[in-house]
Point group: C2
Chain length 460, copies 2
């Protein structure tokens, strides 16, 4: 069995296939495992998560891995007041929704509730089965916001929330897709919350750890630095070719033959593998219509989480500017201070040409506006500009525009002969999250074992 | 100099680079030239154009090639009445817009005029410079139609027109993109017309001929069956690797080194080349957000164009069903009859799994409903299902959704070091048409010669 990709989805598939007694080779393009989850200790000694980092209620697959591997969590810091930047002015608020514009605040809460009611009717795994699927898929979330949300302040809040969740502008997303995505994580409100929501807790030692430990257990089965270039497939057999670095330091094609393959990489990068025979038209059209969001995570490291002294949570919600959302990403022991901001959607693309230094300058100016001049002079700034990452090309997740789910959605998980699909985008719950990646790998492994006549397992 | 792709854009670039005295190698993935233009003589002896086939007023680049190469044209047949299928019933009409619903007819004309007025203000080459670009790009054409077009019949007509022009549903297209595209061909109305519009004339001998003759003149410089897999690039140098068929019948990597490369393939397939270093984030995000439309061309061949005897033009406009638009594609001498229908957008994707036979059955039933039972029994049916074509993966053109042009548009033609971009999607006039492909190749060749310090030519 071959698994393409050693992110959480691929590792989950591999782990379950090995448990079923199958031979497995995992081919990973990068020199590390974890995919969109990557923890790194910076020069200044701060442990930062460049990608996925949180765990929240209901993420049982991820919690199960953490429990199995003895990885512990701690609450995302959220004590004190949040900063709101609205029309260039700074306000403080507590709770989920900024309050400086009372009408906007009420409208935003009403809009979130309305979205949650709509989302509740959409089946996350198969949104195209909704009775009004065509109509919901024809609209964008942005179109819905323009027609349903009265105040400009509330529209800006929903936009900021969308940028944080999807790395995309509301106009880029099909309403049906946004609703299914929200329902997959419980509700839109749940996706936005720290306490009680998707950002509730963080991992001691970083979110990549479980991937590293599972990969260690898989041992030589995981081959790093081996980007897959082609997949030949026929009934009951595949030949997967990767560009592997040989001991003499050169890249050479390396072929692995197997019964089946689980492709566990983002849809946008699946199209970059040459399939022979080519994938069916509808499958390829789906892949062409699943672009990654645009997101950069910027971490600023300070001697101390100084904002806590002033009763601030470190969280920022802004209606304009580059960093629309900021979180306190300091370690549990607060041995130093870390602020993490998201640069997302349009702003992230506009600043692509500015480079790391240009983005840092913009981010620090905005952090200083939120937390005072000292925030503008951190010990260190590090960023991860995901759209420049050759094996992900954006983040955090695929952003489906209008018409895609109803036109191509049924091809999302449907195997093509011996080729199976995993990855968080294929998850029926928590799509876009680490939890969805893990469950998708389990589901793909179950497909493979069922196809081979092995008993289908439960759980894990 | 390397050119990737021997469609009209790549051949135009190559022709102009050779004229400037440069060494050129054109690498073409397929065993033929022409790209999205492909003429074939069927078993029954009919010459059909599987892709681009028409020429209209204002397409000076294509007309210039035809004149140079002595290829002649003839009017698209349009005498007599057109068939309208509305709510399952058949009506006859003349002119551009179906008339069975008078209010719908008037509304559709008004909507086309309004779109043309809006389009006139959008610069086709750089729509992101429009003062309201962000607002126009945030909406879809579908959203505009829903809010601006009163009658259901008119909305259906605009949808059918959109399917014919873009191979996409109105909801898939940014309004800004649709307007720029229309302006690039004069107006939306011009894109829809046969006489006086983009479908005015056809080529004796098919539309691929000019490509074939230009390729013949380029001789050994054009290498077929050589899909490019990677492009390494640095200041002033590129190494392009293709999978070439060697004389022993095996595919082996074959590297061509050059000063610069012109990539003249659709954006959706550009992402499938491994660029080293990887392309900038914004450029890649553009490529991820430029999916091809979905279109299948189905040709039904008959002994005679029997519909002409009944005073019918052979044209059909339908508000539902698979074939929304049908044209008379018989040869100039009417030695046999050919009806050609477009299967586009959602319907084309839904019918992907039905295969050639399934699509033919659906198409023949609808042709019989329009032209009587005899239309259901042709001598031959041939199709080209473009989304299954591995080196195009859809058609006729890239379909940009909301937010793409304003977010990523400026990356469309911007060279990345020694890598230049051609292809009809990059054209500043007649984007999506053969004419735009030719002008894009000329523009890219001019960029290359200017970068090398060669005199910039005019015209050609």
């Amino acid at each position: 069995m071959v698994v393409v990709g050693a992110g959480y989805a691929g590792l989950s598939a591999a782990r379950n296939l090995v448990d079923a007694g199958l031979d497995v080779v995992v081919l990973e393009a990068r020199g590390r495992v974890g995919g969109r989850v990557w923890s790194e200790t910076t020069r200044a000694g701060a442990l930062v998560d460049h990608g996925g980092q949180w765990i929240g209620p209901g993420q049982h697959h991820l919690q199960g891995w953490a429990d199995d591997l003895g990885v512990t969590t701690f609450p995302t810091f959220g004590d004190g007041a949040n900063v709101e930047i609205r029309e260039g002015r700074r306000h403080l608020f507590t709770g989920l929704v900024p309050t400086s514009d009372r009408e906007g605040s009420a409208d935003a809460v009403a809009a979130l509730l309305e979205l949650d009611l709509l989302a509740h009717e959409v089946a996350p795994g198969e949104p195209w089965t909704h009775p009004d699927a065509i109509a919901l898929d024809r609209r964008t979330l942005g179109d819905w916001v323009v027609s349903e949300v009265g105040s400009a302040a509330a529209r800006a809040m929903i936009t900021t929330a969308t940028l944080g969740v999807f790395g995309a502008e509301p106009c880029e997303l099909s309403l049906l897709y946004a609703l299914a995505y929200a329902h997959g994580g419980g509700s839109m409100s749940a996706l936005l919350r720290t306490a009680g929501g998707a950002q509730e807790r963080r991992f001691h030692g970083g979110a990549q750890q479980m991937a590293v430990r599972v990969a260690e257990a898989l041992g030589d089965r995981v081959v790093l630095d081996a980007p897959v270039s082609s997949v030949r497939h026929g009934p009951g057999r595949v030949s997967v070719t990767a560009d592997r670095v040989t001991p003499d330091g050169h890249r050479r094609p390396w072929r692995v033959d197997a019964d089946r393959v689980v492709v566990a990489i983002p849809p946008a990068t699946q199209g970059r593998i040459a399939f022979d025979p080519p994938l069916p038209g509808r499958r390829d059209q789906l892949v062409q219509r699943s672009p990654m969001g645009s997101v950069t995570k910027i971490h600023a490291v300070y001697e101390r989480p100084f904002w806590r002294d002033e009763g601030l949570s470190g969280q920022v919600v802004a209606d304009t500017g580059a960093l629309r959302l900021v979180f306190d990403d300091s370690p549990d022991d607060a041995s130093h201070g870390v602020l993490m901001g998201f640069l997302a959607g349009h702003e992230d693309r506009i600043l692509d040409g500015s480079g790391t230094a240009g983005r840092a300058a913009v981010a620090l100016a905005e952090l200083a506006a939120a937390f005072g001049p000292v925030a503008g002079s951190p010990i260190e700034v590090v960023e991860q500009h995901w759209s420049a990452e050759p094996f992900t090309r954006g983040g955090p997740v695929a952003c489906l525009g209008p018409g895609v789910l109803t036109g191509c959605g049924p091809a999302l998980r449907e195997p093509v002969g011996p080729v199976h699909w995993a990855g968080t985008e294929t998850a029926t719950a928590w799509s876009g999250y680490i939890d969805g990646a893990i469950s998708s790998g389990l589901r793909a492994a179950d497909e493979v074992t069922a196809a081979l006549g092995r008993p289908v397992r439960q759980g894990a």
